[in-house]
Symmetry: C2
Subunit: 277 residues, 2 copies
Amino acid sequence: MAPIFLINGDSCEQISVQDRGLHYGDGIFETIAVHDHKPLSWSGHIRRLQSGCERLGIECPDKDVIESEVRQLSSASSPSVIKIIVTRGQGGRGYRVPERDNTTRIVASYPWPEFPSGNRNPGIISRICRTRIGRNQQLAGIKHLNRLEQVLARKEWSDPGIAEGIMLDDTGHVIEGTMSNLFLFRQGQLLTPDLSECGIAGVTRANILELAPALDMPVVIKQLALDEMFLAEEIFLCNSVIGIWSVRQIDKYRFDSGPGTGKIRNALLSAGLIAPA
Amino acid sequence: MAPIFLINGDSCEQISVQDRGLHYGDGIFETIAVHDHKPLSWSGHIRRLQSGCERLGIECPDKDVIESEVRQLSSASSPSVIKIIVTRGQGGRGYRVPERDNTTRIVASYPWPEFPSGNRNPGIISRICRTRIGRNQQLAGIKHLNRLEQVLARKEWSDPGIAEGIMLDDTGHVIEGTMSNLFLFRQGQLLTPDLSECGIAGVTRANILELAPALDMPVVIKQLALDEMFLAEEIFLCNSVIGIWSVRQIDKYRFDSGPGTGKIRNALLSAGLIAPA
């Protein structure tokens, strides 16, 4: 099934070659799971879209307009993945932003991807990527369109047995997967890397941070050293589409599929925040 | 005058919404001055285009095809600015690169921009940007499409009296202008920042590095502290379109328009590497 695109509301597959999204990656995106014809975690996604626009100084599309387009595509196809892209729109040559934003709004519907059920349990095999993530507090956390680091990291392997790669920043701290956020359990604590200098602050990550205390799992957000990650009792990766994947191996290190990851997954499922399969 | 675009050879103003240039900034670009209907420093630009593609693992368009398109647009309009964009082409959702590249090749002709003649001499007023440049050796030097840092830096000021902003990396070292490379003279030496961790290695910068020794100006490429920049006797900025701009002021610090900058400019002019006005 081919993806379907709405560009500023029009069903269309072309954008202007003058779009600043193309020239500079001057925009942001969201990736949303659609299940039972409903966009999951919609409030989290629209909030992050608005906050990303605000941080980059891009005029955010009207919330109701974008929601109605997302619902239109969700009704048409389910399960599916909705991708929203918002750019600063067309501009002339040069970095200077146009006096008036003419935001480009793209809402796309992609087929739901099939992942092996073993990715959830017993979990995936992962690897440490050589490509590092540069640090920039001003861009940290934003799901913006400057994603060459992720492209190069994902390009490091082609073995289909490796489902995801883990990226470090230039100081060697663990940050995230190429397309997912990382959590681990150790000595009764749930840990996840600090993203104040780089990385994407995922919506599922935010949902976990919110739900965990009620599960009696205090969460620690911290700078995570590679050594510390390898000492984890359980590791899992998350994003809006994959939900939660246990990690059973990273390079030569093996991890157990313990009870913590399952509890988090069940809590997200019960709250309707991730898709069941 | 509106810009003119050739997309994979066709005169056209739209690209596919599935282009990875839009989704990830997965590509590179060149900006070339056209004078007397000739693209200046063509060999430097095509070499950097090829090297950028190689570093990102993008299949580079055929040199002769791209050169013939650049010459076609240069004959049609001069003086002008040619912008080349090469992306990894269309792809599905996700960072993974398609098994086969289907590179998108864009060659565009823009009107020649008019800058005040005073930008050359006595020079421009500049400022230090708050937006920092993140470091990533794997991307350093490449003129790739991930340019949000430059967009945010250029967005910091609107005063038309300030012609360019200077950017530091996250450790506070001076790297470059938002759209230009930086050189300075101090104690008989020509200095320019080391770009092995971030920044764009400009074609005009490379031309200067090549010409300077014959002018009896040994060049030192080094990590440049802000304090050291402020102690400069002369500072200038360069790129393919502006040529050489003397810098007469950065924030509250003033600089002389000394003889070194003029010698460099004249050498580039004599070699036909920058446009006369």
